[in-house]
């Protein structure tokens, strides 16, 4: 029994680790999409953030510099997205696709030219990375049954960014629902004309929301490259930006439900790894691909209105033309 309990706790523990980049990206997408700018470029921004973080960490040996550089890089990409969608009223999806493809190509082309390892960055020593944090007395607490196990295995021992991501969800909730800026972001995503009439700049508001998203994707990329792993590998985001987008939709563009969706998708991933090659009683071996595809399938089913209804912000994707 305690073996099973430990296994469940460890699966949740793994789920928390894989959920972290999803949570950060989903919150990034939330700012952008609540302000009316479709953001399918989470994947590309996270990839670029991961590459820049790993490259800077490899050259300077400083994890903090790497984080800063990654955030600057992803904010620049967000600014580009804003420039296309807000200033030039371009198609949001086209701009997002452009950013994803550019990131995919640039990270490999630059990585190969700079480090000569076929697109990988040199693997990093512990000093240049963000390392897991042990909570106080975690070892001793491990001896206490159940609560101690939860404390040691599930709560303690994660990377600092994991705790930051969880804390950020609360912060995002507070910003979106309890600050003037958040109210305006929500308003501009629903009815930009009204915001404009109130004398508030629609463009500047949207730029700020999109740039905030850039910050968060930068942290997500940093986590992937120099916290969870010890370097950049080509295409290392592997569709997680899209899963985060799915989680955002699944959470109906609200912070706490989106967090729930991220944790659920992370758990699915952790379970898929654990079930690899395992015979489940009554069912037999569950194909890993089936569990991996489940987040996408569930999102499609949700969007089709078969389980609840996901209504996007009303003005999403519509370029705002100021009346003259």
């Amino acid at each position: 029994m305690s073996d099973l309990f430990l296994m469940i706790i460890l699966t949740f523990d793994a789920a928390l680790r894989v959920s972290t980049p999803l949570i950060l990206c989903a919150m990034a997408g939330l700012f952008s999409e609540r302000s009316g700018i479709i953001d399918i470029s989470l994947e590309g921004k996270m990839l670029m953030g991961a590459f820049i973080a790993a490259a800077v960490a490899a050259v300077t040996g400083s994890a903090w510099l790497a984080l800063m550089a990654a955030i600057v890089a992803t904010m620049l990409m967000s600014a580009l997205h804003g420039f296309a969608c807000i200033t030039h009223r371009g198609n949001h999806v086209v701009s997002g696709v452009a950013i994803n493809i550019m990131a995919s190509g640039l990270t490999i082309a630059l990585g190969h030219a700079w480090f000569k390892r076929g697109g990988q960055t040199p693997s990093l020593l512990a000093d240049a990375r963000f390392m897991p944090m042990e909570f106080p007395f975690a070892e001793q607490a491990g001896n206490i049954p159940i609560i101690g196990t939860i404390y040691k295995e599930l709560l303690s021992g994660h990377n600092g960014i994991v705790y930051v991501a969880l804390g950020l969800v609360g912060l995002v909730w507070w910003i979106i629902y309890r600050t003037r800026f958040g109210l305006r972001v929500r308003a501009v995503g629903e009815n930009p004309q009204a915001v404009d009439t109130a004398g508030i700049s629609v463009s500047w508001l949207r730029y700020r929301a999109v740039l905030l998203g850039g910050v968060l994707t930068g942290i997500a990329g940093t986590y992937l490259a120099i916290a969870q792993n010890a370097g950049f590998v080509r295409e290392m985001t592997a569709g997680q930006g899209y899963i985060a987008l799915a989680a955002l939709i699944f959470g109906k563009w609200r912070p706490l439900p989106a967090l729930g969706a991220c944790l659920m998708f992370g758990l699915l991933d952790a379970v898929a790894i654990r079930l690899q090659g395992v015979e489940v009683p009554m069912i037999g071996e569950v194909p890993v691909q089936f569990i991996q595809a489940l987040p996408y399938v569930l999102t499609v089913v949700l969007l089709a209105g078969f389980i609840g209804k996901a209504t996007p912000p009303r003005a999403i994707g519509v370029p705002y033309v100021k009346e003259r």
């Binding site: 198609n91 190509g105 190969h112 697109g119 969007l303 089709a304």
Partner: protein, 365 residues
């Protein structure tokens, strides 16, 4: 103020702006080349030689271009209906699956003149069906086609990995691939076709599907600009509400245009599976579906433009491979970045220069 300005004439809109946009993408690409340490002029020389300098290179260029014509047309027809089909990659993948399944089942019992049309139809059926589900969900259940087609790319990929690893893998084989099809199920290579007439050209993956790509271009042009359905498609894409008042059913337009779009993307599977690999393998789509977006935007959703853009991207792919071979600091993925720049400047920032050009034109006039 700007209302008083004359709008740009058609020749600037169709002739100057696309060239300007592509030029901007190429300028940024040149900067990238400089960053990775190669002279742009030298790089272009190597790429041009690699793509057009000898007949094997030309073969490869045209082979890539064939795929880009299919996916470019696929994106274009959806654009005409006001839809954005990002799912070309998945539709091509599933289209190839259809070809593979049919050939594995039938290749021992049928002659080539039956098998090859069946392969073509299967590619269209499977690709079209994979696009039909998101189309249905968009038309009747209100879910956004961009999101569903993205999700369907991943679902397609999961299905393929599952089938290839667990079901279709040839026994005793390490990497997931099926057995090779019988000779009768293999679409002839162009170097074989030329050999029938006594002309010798070098071997390349270029095969007869390029003929089909040309037919598709003409067919799509006829469909969009010379058929009633095409008129309805453009009407819905232009203004859905007005189209409804014109007695057009937009739901039907969404279904039809997406089906055609998926079928066109599925033909990549025909080119790759029937024409090149002659067996099912993983990841044969290699990002061609996404390149289709760049091709379509660059070609302004018109078959002629798409052919030109496909040739350019075929050149970039083949020339890029040559460049990566010659220059150690360059990888093939450089082309992917260039593709991104093209989508950015020809797509997202397509009208960046319009206000400036309008002012310039009005002053000059």
């Amino acid at each position: 103020m700007s209302d008083l300005l004359q709008p740009l004439p058609r020749w600037i809109d169709v002739g100057v702006i696309p060239v300007l946009n592509v030029s901007m993408a190429m300028i940024v690409s040149s900067i990238l080349l400089l960053v990775v340490g190669i002279e742009p002029v030298e790089a272009v020389t190597i790429m041009l030689h690699g793509a057009f300098g000898y007949d094997e290179g030309i073969g490869y260029t045209l082979y890539y271009a064939t795929n880009f014509v299919f996916t470019g047309l696929a994106v274009a027809i959806a654009f005409h209906a006001g839809l954005f089909n990002i799912g070309g990659e998945g539709q091509a993948y599933i289209g190839g699956l259809g070809v593979g399944l049919a050939m594995l089942l039938l290749d021992s019992s049928m002659p080539a003149f039956l098998l090859l049309p069946i392969a073509l139809i299967m590619a269209a059926l499977f690709g079209g069906a994979w696009a039909l589900i998101p189309a249905y969900l968009q038309a009747y259940r209100g879910s956004h086609i961009v999101i569903t087609t993205i999700m369907f790319n991943f679902i397609a990929s999961a299905i393929m990995v599952y089938l290839m690893v667990n079901v279709l893998i040839m026994p005793g084989q390490q990497s997931p691939q099926t057995r090779e099809f019988a000779e009768s199920a293999q679409l002839p290579f162009m170097h074989e076709v030329f050999a029938w007439f006594g002309v010798n050209i070098s071997q390349s993956p270029l095969n007869l599907s390029i003929v089909w790509a040309v037919i598709c271009c003409i067919g799509l042009w006829l469909f969009i600009w010379r058929s009633r359905w095409g008129y309805e498609t453009r009407a819905v894409g232009f203004n859905e509400k007005a189209a409804v008042y014109g007695g057009i059913n937009p739901k039907r337009v969404v279904l039809i245009s997406m089906c055609i779009s998926g079928a066109l993307a599925g033909f990549v599977g025909f080119n790759e599976i029937s024409g090149v690999h002659h067996r099912l393998i993983l990841n044969f789509t290699a990002g061609y579906g996404f390149t289709g977006i760049a091709v379509s935007l660059m070609g302004r959703n018109h078959p002629v433009g798409i052919v030109l853009a496909s040739l350019l991207f075929g050149m970039l792919y083949q020339g890029g491979a040559e460049l990566a071979f010659e220059v150690p600091t360059v990888t093939r993925e450089m082309v992917v970045a260039i593709q991104g720049f093209v989508i950015l400047f020809s797509g997202a920032l397509a009208y960046m220069s319009t206000p400036f050009l309008t002012r310039l034109y009005n002053r000059w006039k």
